[in-house]
């Protein structure tokens, strides 16, 4: 009796990813699709892709999606969720989208405690536009717009989204994860599932930050990119649960 251990999730279309070999977006897309399948929410999920490498996410997720302007996903997602409160609404964003041009929208959606989920792909560069410095680029990291390496007085410090957003009272659940090894990919998938469940239960705002390999712009092999996340990136961006008020939210919901 042959048992299927792994197959393409149903909520992931058959299209070949346009992402680079070894790209973390591909892995993230797949595990999100697996979570959508496992929670059986394909029919009620609405996703908002970013401007960035994942702008074509609607070619991959087999759920209703609406393109947002650069950085504005959380504003759109907030409005969609308030209009259709029983749908699962997620915004999928990269570094520039969430932490540069869109910092106000992501911050305020979190602050308002919108009952949405943000998936934040952190690869410490601007991928689609060719590897420029991002808010999350680390000190001394060389990019096309920080050719001498990010400098604290010229460019400031890397923005630590999980640390900052976890301070907001509107945030219910926030975890930083990685997709650079089988163990970490499974952990990330669990976190995403927990975030979507948090939304389904009406417990409020969730954000999953995912440290993700970008072999092309890091100029490394896929495997070395995965190692670099362990050896370098996770030192600036330590993974872990930064906020988990789900139990408290559950209690106050039961109290009613």
């Amino acid at each position: 009796m042959v048992k299927t251990v792994f197959k393409r999730p149903r909520s992931l279309k058959e299209n070949v990813f346009h992402y680079c070999p070894g790209c973390g977006h591909s892995i993230a897309h797949r595990i999100i699709a697996e979570v959508i399948d496992e929670l059986d929410i394909r029919g009620i999920t609405i996703g908002v892709p970013p401007a960035g490498c994942a702008v074509l996410a609607y070619n991959y997720f087999d759920v209703d999606m609406i393109e947002a302007l650069h950085g504005r996903g959380p504003a759109m997602a907030s409005a969609i969720k308030r209009s259709l409160p029983d749908r699962v609404v997620f915004s999928y964003q990269g570094d520039g989208d969430l932490a540069a041009i869109g910092i106000a929208e992501s911050f305020h959606a979190a602050n308002r405690g919108e009952n949405i989920t943000i998936i934040f792909i952190n690869n410490a560069v601007y991928g689609m536009t060719g590897g420029q410095m991002a808010p999350t680029t680390m000190l001394e990291q060389k990019t096309t717009t920080s050719p001498a390496g990010r400098h604290r007085t010229l460019d400031g410090y890397p923005v630590k989204v999980s640390e900052i957003f976890s301070q907001l009272e509107g945030v219910t659940y926030l975890e930083r994860c990685m997709v650079n090894s089988p163990l970490n990919i499974n952990k990330t998938k669990k976190a995403i599932k927990k975030a979507f469940q948090c939304q389904l239960d009406g417990f409020g705002f969730s954000l999953i930050e995912i440290l993700s390999p970008c072999p092309t712009n890091w100029k490394m092999t896929a495997f070395n990119s995965c190692k670099w996340i362990d050896e370098v990136m996770s030192k600036t961006f330590p993974p872990g649960v930064y906020k988990d008020n789900i139990a408290a939210a559950k209690k106050s919901a039961e109290g009613r």
């Binding site: 070949v16 070999p21 790209c23």
Partner: protein, 69 residues
């Protein structure tokens, strides 16, 4: 425990993560070409697959299916 994998060679982008993470050495590079102009990975039948699924977990392209007998 025995397992086997099916690699969709046409969509493999030669990132080699599956090879790097496979605990059994069951996956190897090849000199074949696919239509995306990559050398897709292939199977070494001499190194047994145990159906752990790690290769598929790592594969960004969802190019590997895993089965266990």
């Amino acid at each position: 425990m025995k397992g086997y994998i099916v690699i969709n060679k046409e969509i493999c982008k030669e990132c080699l993560l599956c090879i790097n993470f496979c605990p059994k050495g069951h996956i190897v590079t090849t000199t074949e070409y696919n239509a995306l102009s990559y050398h897709p990975v292939g199977i070494d039948e001499t190194k047994e697959c145990n159906g752990c699924g790690i290769c598929a977990t790592m594969c960004p392209e969802v190019a590997i299916e895993v089965y266990r007998e």
